[in-house]
C-alpha cells in the first residue's frame, strides 16, 4: 500500500494523497490544459519533476543555489496597508524584495487620478529613502467606468438583455475614459521619479480592459523609452466581453498566455506577468501542472522578462488569505525550474 503524503488542495486545506494519486493529478491537469489552450502537454521529464516537488514531505522547498529569480510584486511587499514608505522600507530591508511597488488602498487608476499629487509626493519621498527600484501599481478596472460607478452605460446589464451593439458602444466609450486615466496617472508617477508602472490584474473586465491598457502602454513607452512597464494579467485567457476588439489585427478575446505576451511585447511592455486561476476543488499539484502547461509556450517567444503571478489564488498558490508556505514555495520552485522564467 502506497504511503500517504500530506499535500494541499486549491483552497489551501490539507489533504493526503499517494504518489500515484499525485502523478495521476499532474497527468490529468497537463492533458486538460493542453487541450483547452491548444498547446503541448508537459513532457514526461517535466511531469516527473513536478511530481518530485509535490511528493516531498518537506514543509518548505526552494530553488537551487544560483537559480534565484527577480521578484516583482502587485501591491506592496509587506502589505502593511496604508503605511506607504514604511511598507516599502520593510520590503527592501527585511524581505529583500527585488522590485518594490508603491500603491494605494484604492488600487484603481480611476481612483488614483483624484489623489495623484499625494501619490507623486509619496513617490518622491520614497525614492530618496530607498535603494531598490520602485514602481507604481494599480488596476485598470474598466468596469468602474460603467454606471452606477462611472459615466457609461453598464454593459453587464445590456448584454443579458441582448443589446449587443449598445453594450459594445458603452465598452468603447469606457475604454476612452480609461486609457486617458492610465496615461494621466502613468505620466504623473513616472515624472515623479517612479522606476516603472504596473498594470495589475489586466483584463479583469475582459478584452476592453486589456485593450485600454495596451493603448496606454504604447503611449507611455513612446514617451518614456527606459521606464519599466509591467502588465500582470487577471486570468489564463482574455474574456471576450466586447468580443471584436483587435490589437494590430489580432483578436484579444480568447488569447492564452502566449498570445497575451505577444501583444504586450508589441505594445512596449517590459515585464509580463501571466496569471492562471486556481481550481479550488483540485490539488495544488494539479493546479501547478495546469499553470505550467499554459504558460510554457511563452518562454520560447519571450523577448522580455516573464514573471508568472504566484500570488494568492493563481499559478498553483491556494486561494487563501494566508497561503500555506509549503504550497506557495512548491509553486515558486516548480515555475522557476520547469519554465526557467525570469522572475515571479
Amino acid at each position: 500500500m502506497e504511503t500517504k503524503i500530506a499535500t494541499r488542495m486549491g483552497d489551501g486545506s490539507l489533504t493526503e494523497m499517494t504518489r500515484g494519486e499525485l502523478r495521476s493529478d499532474i497527468e490529468d491537469a497537463t492533458q486538460l490544459a493542453a487541450g483547452k489552450a491548444k498547446v503541448d502537454p508537459l513532457t514526461q521529464d517535466e511531469q516527473d519533476h513536478v511530481l518530485d516537488i509535490y511528493a516531498s514531505a518537506a514543509c518548505f522547498t526552494a530553488v537551487d543555489i544560483g537559480d534565484q529569480v527577480v521578484l516583482s510584486c502587485d501591491g506592496g511587499g509587506s502589505k502593511m496597508t496604508g503605511t506607504d514608505i514604511l511598507d516599502l522600507l520593510e520590503s527592501e530591508q527585511r524581505l529583500g524584495q527585488d522590485i518594490l511597488e508603491l500603491w494605494h488602498i484604492e488600487y484603481s487608476y480611476k481612483a488614483i487620478k483624484t489623489i495623484l499629487p499625494h501619490q507623486q509626493q509619496m513617490m518622491q519621498n520614497a525614492q530618496q529613502m530607498l535603494t531598490a527600484p520602485i514602481q507604481y501599481g494599480a488596476q485598470p478596472n474598466l468596469a468602474f467606468y460603467s454606471r452606477p460607478d462611472g459615466p457609461c452605460e453598464n454593459w453587464f446589464e445590456l448584454l443579458p438583455r441582448g443589446e449587443i451593439a449598445a453594450a459594445r458602444e458603452a465598452i468603447v466609450e469606457a475604454m476612452d475614459y480609461a486609457t486617458k486615466d492610465f496615461i494621466f496617472v502613468g505620466e504623473g508617477m513616472l515624472d515623479a521619479g517612479a522606476d516603472g508602472m504596473d498594470f495589475d490584474t489586466t483584463g479583469g473586465a475582459g478584452d476592453g480592459d486589456f485593450f485600454s491598457t495596451l493603448r496606454a502602454v504604447r503611449h507611455l513607452r513612446e514617451k518614456y523609452p527606459t521606464a519599466g512597464i509591467e502588465v500582470g494579467m487577471a486570468g489564463e485567457f482574455v474574456i471576450g466581453v466586447h468580443g471584436e476588439l483587435e490589437w494590430d489585427g489580432r483578436r484579444l478575446a480568447g488569447l492564452w498566455p502566449q498570445g497575451q505576451l505577444e501583444v504586450c511585447q508589441d505594445a512596449g511592455v517590459t515585464l509580463f506577468g501571466p496569471a492562471v486561476n486556481i481550481n479550488t476543488g483540485k490539488s495544488c499539484a494539479w493546479n501547478t501542472a495546469y499553470s505550467l502547461t499554459v504558460i510554457k509556450p511563452c518562454m520560447d517567444v519571450a523577448c522580455i522578462p516573464v514573471h508568472p503571478n504566484v500570488g494568492e489564488g493563481v499559478c498553483g498558490v491556494p486561494v487563501n488569505g494566508y497561503p500555506p508556505e509549503d504550497a506557495a514555495s512548491r509553486a515558486a520552485k516548480a515555475h522557476v525550474e520547469i519554465l526557467r522564467c525570469d522572475g515571479l
Partner: protein
C-alpha cells in the same frame, strides 16, 4: 507569502544584487540570463555571486551600492539610498529617473 517567495526563489534585493538585476529587466527589458550576465560583468564577479549575500555584502560595500542596515551592520559615511543610486546608475550604465530628478531639483 512574500517571505515565502523571497526565501524560496528570490534573489534577495539589496542584500544581494537582486535590485541591480531587476533594474536591467525594467530599464532594458533584459531577460534573466542576460541581465545576470550584464550585472556580473559590470561588478566583476560571477553570476552565482549575484544572489549570494556573503559575496554581495563585500562587493556592495566596496563599490558604495548601498547595503542593509541593522544594529550590528551600520555603515555611517557610506552611501545608501539616493547616494547609492547615483553610484548604481554609473556602475550599470543606466539612467535612474529618481537620480535625474534629484539632480534637477537640487540644482546639481
Amino acid at each position: 507569502m512574500d517571505v515565502t517567495h523571497a526565501l524560496a526563489a528570490g534573489m534577495g534585493g539589496i542584500r544581494t544584487a537582486g535590485d541591480l538585476v531587476a533594474r536591467m529587466q525594467m530599464s532594458r527589458g533584459m531577460r534573466l540570463t542576460e541581465a545576470k550576465r550584464y550585472v556580473a560583468d559590470r561588478l566583476g564577479c560571477t553570476e552565482r555571486d549575484l544572489a549570494d549575500s556573503y559575496a554581495m555584502e563585500q562587493i556592495r560595500g566596496e563599490k558604495g551600492l548601498g547595503r542593509i542596515l541593522d544594529h550590528s551592520n551600520l555603515h555611517p559615511g557610506e552611501p545608501n539610498a539616493m547616494m547609492a543610486k547615483f553610484r548604481i546608475a554609473e556602475t550599470l550604465g543606466i539612467t535612474i529617473p529618481s537620480v535625474e530628478k534629484f539632480r534637477e531639483l537640487a540644482g546639481i
